[in-house]
Symmetry: C2
């Protein structure tokens, strides 16, 4: 299992956190999603994660991945 | 039908707007809820509205009514 960290901008409240968790949680291979609202830090755990799919899920939720 | 305007604080994004609309929309007699995120203005339309029930619904959604 590996953990990949993303910095996400645009999340303003707990609902935003839930949206990101939900969308990213649906990406194949993802076993866990931890989000820190204040810093925008999103830690995604899983096996053989598809980085592009995770980024697409974050954008699908309506937020931006920094970097 | 009457329209009562409330000023609500704490809404930060579209999810917050949806939460307020949903909770207030469930109050008996309410026929419409318009929310302006930026100003916090919430216009509640309906018949024989129970002001206390509307305020309780807003607080139930997780926000504060000013005044």
């Amino acid at each position: 299992m590996s953990v990949t960290t993303y910095t996400v901008t645009g999340m303003t409240c707990g609902h935003c956190v839930s949206s990101v968790k939900e969308e990213v949680g649906e990406v194949p291979g993802v076993t866990g999603v931890d989000v820190d609202l204040e810093s925008g830090r999103v830690d995604v755990s899983g096996d053989a994660l598809d980085d592009a799919a995770v980024r697409a899920a974050i954008e699908e939720a309506g937020y931006q991945v920094a970097g």
